[in-house]
Symmetry: D2
Subunit: 338 residues, 4 copies
């Protein structure tokens, strides 16, 4: 019995283009600390991708990307509005608080892992904002969300308008940005036109060890450089991280990989369409299993995480860029037989 | 005219064994977040290397290794005794202060970049240690030092005895630990037997993107794990960093590389033995150039950093594991002709 | 028309005993930095009051007391379970995050501003506590609560047992501790026997400028001293703060003042017993006003804060130790006539 | 034998005007949190004193004043140039590092506790200021200095011009600002015209429990308010601190007190003019005692701190605003007889 891994896209392989880029960057000497030819291309590559001036700096994890970006946008006495399921709230061991020197995350409700202007207003209704309270300074949304859903461009625009009206900065955790853009089949620029900073994810999507912080407010560029160095996120052989990111952008490898993962998820979704907890719009499914079904699936070699409360029989299924089509097909059948 | 780079070992290539290890780790899926087979070997590999129980965790930079290690050893109201030339003081943009939440570095003098018990006592003579002052909590030394010198085992032992007598923890910045061990031709254990934590450098020595924090006080193991996660230094595909480190340890690649670099430095040292600022014991030389010599060397294609005060005609020359023997020979002749 | 102030006990006068103590401490020289006779009495006085060894250090605000106490109990990667209405969450501008270097507050529900073991379990049900998450390290409760209610001794004991079972530390925000003890007519020790640290409030209760941190875990004593100094909360003329606190303890002035405030609140409560939002157990009332009633009361000279959502016609009424009985009687009649 | 205390002005009494102000502020209710009549006067009073717009906020200690002011002027990745003897370096248990979230103090030499442009340049000669290093952001000087000397207006102006040319902010630790102004017999404005922030000391000079942060860069006003609240330095009954400060300013009590202390120091200085370590310009003397003299003086009832290295026979003598003239005379004779 083969093991079929639907636990996490963090378990995926690195894709050939990325590995090839590392191999090519390895044998020659190159200037250290972002002085190399790869690192020096990044700003231009992302400026090209997003159609407006930006700076891009590699870091080693999505947590670092989020926390460094937020630290540039929010003072220590500030607050970040986010969803209760946000990765920055739930899965970063307090990194945003560490990097911001103690800012607070204020949680606002929203269906399907998505925030709305109304949800923000409701969640912050009792926040007075006087000197005794932290000062709201930024909105952070995740695209695709932690529930496997995707904000439509008009939803992002509405949130951005709301944020602007309040004087907030706007950050997007794009650990699965590629999956969102692939789902929407939109220009990347359409997703990023209102942002101050984007955590552009590569690792889950076939990368090896680099994510990119894309900073659109260039007034913060020096601050981000200093914060990154100070955080131990400025590698001496920066070319290896930069080369990976460039390999993802070249020939739209990032979108190709994301489309593959999304397609697998859609295949599975069709098999359980009547028991999905959220719409399936990226590469994650959240499924209401039947009693005993989880055990049976695992006995058949499928690996995945339980979800929700103990005993709820909810499961999370993640399809990666490299999940074999046969494994997806096999799981789809097992679920349909559920 | 070929460019001969003596600027920094940070510009060196990644060595074939390291690249090969990354290639091998790439194509298969593997458990995320240190659950993979490579990451799970690290503790045993370093326990073996150092002859006593320890934990080893990869991080992305030497700055992160130093700052995370120190944060485990020193409270926010604590102080770290170190040399004025220490990398943690001079070249980490305040990372130790950031990770420790504001501890202080107290600078103590020492010839050739090396601390001594006497230098520590002199440097701290006016430190009272009452409630109005930060509390001395750790000693951090660099091996090999920022001056290209190497502590002898008895020198480390004397410092460790001094630290123990004061109740201080002991950290070693081993960005060039390999060069020191290669120079001393000693057991690695002899260099680490008194340490609470070691930043074990790989990147300058042929690595790609991973250094290791080696923690000997296992009571701090959980704290280090949490701090590392919180610092965005726990990559989801941890196998790529772990595999690099293992490749360095296998067949003593780390020592082979360091020996090559050290040998190049000795070759150069012989050519300028009467105008060295410090003894040459690792892979760095600090040389008193003659007026005009720097310009002439650069015109001949040699690259290096000026050192010391403006106009001092001092230069730093660094030999890497991959600096071609021909380049070293060429520079040795140019210097001898100086 | 006289102004009758029911806005906050922070607006109250300093009571004569406290002022007298300051006057007595003023004219003579005395050793600085807690070396004076008043400061040196504090540990003994609180040890006496609580029937077990403790250390007591004055600070300038309740916010400082809470944040310093929590910083001693919770690491930077830790979490504090508290009520969504907790002062530390709502009204301290992120001081707990600042002093702890970025710990998180995790909010748990509870009726009438009070936490319960069940509420804690419910609120933390989805908290996994693995390395990706902050580590629960303390429970903080407010006594009397922000809703003007008081935990019964068995309620505190149940929370303490729950906290102990989880390995959490326990902190009590006692900004209105006096009002709670006065209400319960219990021994102070009965309220504090399970605590690691207590913020013992004086200022709202007739004090002038000093609160006390009472630390029961003496293993943390030095840490608290260093943190307090480092936070700029160790005054050079410490005698003035210590003298105030001693004056509050002498002859149970603290309980006398609290009883007066509580009695006024009971008087008012009787007049609006059918429209109270929470039971009245200390010196605060939360009242459902009738449409137009707020305006009418203000026109009659009564001052108070609106509460809850805009348009909810909820009001908070606070009685201080020095609120004139006539003012209370006048407001009681006005409310009864409402 | 009477005890004659020359240990510290921190041991001094509170002066009658200050105590009277507290007494007057005590019995009435007043709006909390700086809403009272005293707090609301402070900005105008200091604007008047210094002849230019400023904001003044009371805090509880000089350490808090310094650290909060610096935190507004310097980012976490910043550096503050100061003297090795600076109180912020030596006697605040890392408060500047805590409040700034980890900025560094870079120490520059200077005779008699005073910095000069040349000393700054020398001390920072090897600071490159690239991305690997902290960014110099402020100069902090102490007036009067920790050596009992006073910067002349032209010396401050030269430092300010140097700071401006480098783009640094400028802070003055004025724990003994009154003694400096009294010594110079200048307008206070002449001492503060180049500053971004001043820690205006009251406590050593006859105050009770309040210092003032005077902020001249009003663009930082909100930031300072939030940082102060967050630091637990915004008392609910703020009137007591504000009233003390106003009492010091009224009728130039602050200068009267400082002149008294300075005069006592001059009297002593005349008795030991040939063995002073530094010029005596404020209320502190540093004296080279003769072997055995310290013991003899203590046996005669004089209290003071040893200074310098153990066995150096150096002493610090501090005269306070309230040191009895007879005590000064007695010590002067004892020293003259030395």
């Amino acid at each position: 019995m083969a093991i079929c891994n639907f636990m996490s896209d963090n378990a995926a392989a690195a894709c050939p283009e990325v590995v090839e880029a590392v191999i090519k960057a390895a044998p020659a000497q190159a200037a250290g600390y972002d002085g190399d030819d790869w690192s020096r291309q990044l700003d231009a590559r992302f400026t090209d991708l997003f159609g407006r001036p930006c700076m891009a700096l590699p870091v080693g994890t999505g947590t670092a990307a989020n926390a460094l970006a937020l630290a540039c946008l929010v003072p220590a006495w500030g607050a970040i509005a986010c969803h209760p399921e946000a990765h920055i709230q739930v899965d970063e061991c307090g990194a945003p608080e560490f990097f911001t020197s103690g800012a607070k995350l204020l949680l606002c409700p929203g269906a399907n892992g998505k925030l709305t202007p109304e949800g923000l207003s409701a969640g912050l209704a009792s926040h007075r904002g006087d000197v005794h309270q932290v000062q709201l300074a930024a909105l952070s949304i995740t695209q695709a969300t932690e529930c496997g859903t995707v904000y439509q461009p008009d939803e992002v625009a509405a949130l951005a308008a709301h944020a602007r009206a309040q004087g907030w900065r706007m950050h997007m955790d794009g650990a699965r940005f590629a999956n969102a853009v692939a789902h929407l089949a939109c220009e990347p620029a359409a997703m990023a036109c209102d942002l101050d900073a984007l955590s552009f994810g590569c690792i889950k999507n076939g990368g090896l060890s680099a994510e990119a912080i894309v900073l659109f407010d260039l007034a913060l560029a020096d601050q981000l450089r200093w914060r990154r160095k100070r955080a131990g996120q400025m590698p001496s052989k920066g070319r290896f991280n930069a080369a990976q990111i460039i390999a993802m952008l070249d020939d739209d490898v990032w979108l190709r990989n994301a489309r593959a993962a999304n397609a697998g998820a859609q295949h599975l979704a069709a098999a359980v369409h009547d028991r999905l907890l959220y719409p399936v719009e990226a590469n994650e499914l959240f499924v209401q299993l039947r009693p005993g079904e989880a055990d049976r699936l695992r006995a058949e070699g499928f690996q995945f995480y339980d979800w929700g409360a103990v005993g709820s029989d909810e499961a999370r299924l993640v399809v990666s860029w490299d999940t074999p089509a046969a494994a997806v097909e096999q799981l789809a059948r097992a679920l349909a037989a559920g």
